[in-house]
Assembly symmetry: C2
Homo-oligomer: 244 residues x 2
DNA sequence: TGACACCAATCTGTGCAGGCATAAAAATAA
DNA sequence: TTATTTTTATGCCTGCACAGATTGGTGTCA
């Protein structure tokens, strides 16, 4: 995936910082990196710039590149999410994302019912029909892809780009759930009905029903998945001092 | 604010792209930028790398630096949010952020009631008391800062770092609301009570009450502010094709 | 002797200039 | 149409000068 050199360096350092192999407070010297990774300064510097934007490092003169702690990481950065999911913080990352989607998706459904363009309403009807079909057949592989698409379309149909942007990590959650065998061997009948009802409600511009049924989906999804992060510690960040 | 040279270039290009002065699809050549901005290649390259991570540009060989459209921008990036708030998309940005906070804050309050560390529960009690005091006095300036801090602490106390990270842009919303004179000349009595109730509920680990009262705050806040984006078009992003 | 202010040495990121390699578009030939 | 060559802008590398922060030493005064 990492085709360019600097992307490779970003990947190398980022994954190590987030996994804890390079502990917070460490000081890295650009010159050392050049030698260790056998790349030129320009590559190192571009990579450091990217990592700095992710909140992973903080380079200052005369001291070097300081590795920052988890409270500085940008939790919405795609890199950061991916690296955390691949580390032993996987549980905590899944929990954060799930709490976020539980909060957001009912509102997204409500907004979609009000604002979605016609094409998306139609696609949702089609998707829920297919989910019914393949779900009852027990074709989990295909059901999963449809499910991911369904939620992505609802988020996009809300017309809120911040919601829409959550579809990738939410897709990752759904994939992770089936990979870990947390899905029943065939989808629950209720779940199928709720998805159908969400699609119907959005199609009929029934915002209240869209929200209510999406809330039902979220409740069940939470129950199915929350065992994943039993005992993972919560991360309490210091609230940012309000600065004019 | 932009101390280093490359940050200056990021600021220059980023603000222009988001404001539309540099339209989507434009092709920028690094060599031209060097000359126009009178900086060296390394500065340009680092800046471009940062902008690429924001989703604003996409540099490819032989063609140059392509300016991307709004659907590619990372809506959670601090730069992007700031630039959009300073552009004529201010309304749409405020709406997206408000819809997000309306979705998230009730859940944050609920989680805070369950998990918040003692110090944060105490701070919330103190903050709501001070809000009562200065609010009844009509000291809007001080009330605003307390209000911002209150919501930041609730988000942080949820123990969800994705929630906590929203406190900065939410603070920006609250500031914008008072700057634009959308606040009553002294806070509504109900609003003061709801904040007090949220603090009490979190303090007493009463999750349901914390959520309920926060929902009330959100409903009112929405009513007060939604006139800001009357008629601003919603942004429907193409849902990402689910790729393994 | 000891505390403190000030200055110089040093170290490291930042920025500059220019070179070669390479990939992808465009133009040309088959 | 298809294959090949040419063009051209980014990717990558290197040597050099500068800026700013830390450190340590120096001198002054109590």
């Amino acid at each position: 995936m990492a085709t360019s050199l600097h992307a490779h360096v970003v990947e190398h350092l980022g994954s190590r910082i987030i996994s804890g192999q390079i502990p917070r407070g460490s000081i890295i010297l650009a010159a050392d990196l050049e030698q260790k990774l056998q790349v030129s300064r320009s590559v190192i510097r571009e990579a450091i710039r990217v990592l700095a934007q992710c909140g992973l490092v903080n380079s200052t003169k005369r001291v070097g590149i300081r590795v920052l702690g988890a409270e500085s990481w940008n939790p919405y950065d795609d890199h950061v999410i991916r690296w955390r999911l691949a580390s032993d913080q996987k549980g905590a990352q899944l929990r954060s994302l799930t709490e976020l989607r539980i909060s957001v998706e009912p509102m997204a459904a409500e907004l979609a019912a009000e604002f979605a363009p016609e094409a998306m309403r139609k696609e949702l009807m089609m998707l829920s029909a297919q989910m019914n079909h393949y779900g009852r057949q027990g074709d989990l592989r295909r059901f999963l892809e449809l499910d991911i698409r369904f939620h992505a379309v609802v988020l996009a149909a809300s017309g809120n780009e911040m919601f829409a942007n959550l579809s990738t990590p939410i897709g990752a959650i759904l994939r992770g759930r089936t990979e870990l065998g947390l899905m029943p061997e065939r989808p629950h009948e209720e779940a199928l009905l709720w998805h159908q009802s969400v699609a119907d409600a959005i199609s009929n511009s029934d915002a209240a029903s869209a929200r209510k049924n999406m809330e039902s989906i979220m409740r069940r999804t939470h129950n199915e998945i929350c065992s994943l992060w039993d005992g993972a510690p919560r991360l309490f960040v210091n609230p940012a001092k309000s600065s004019q």
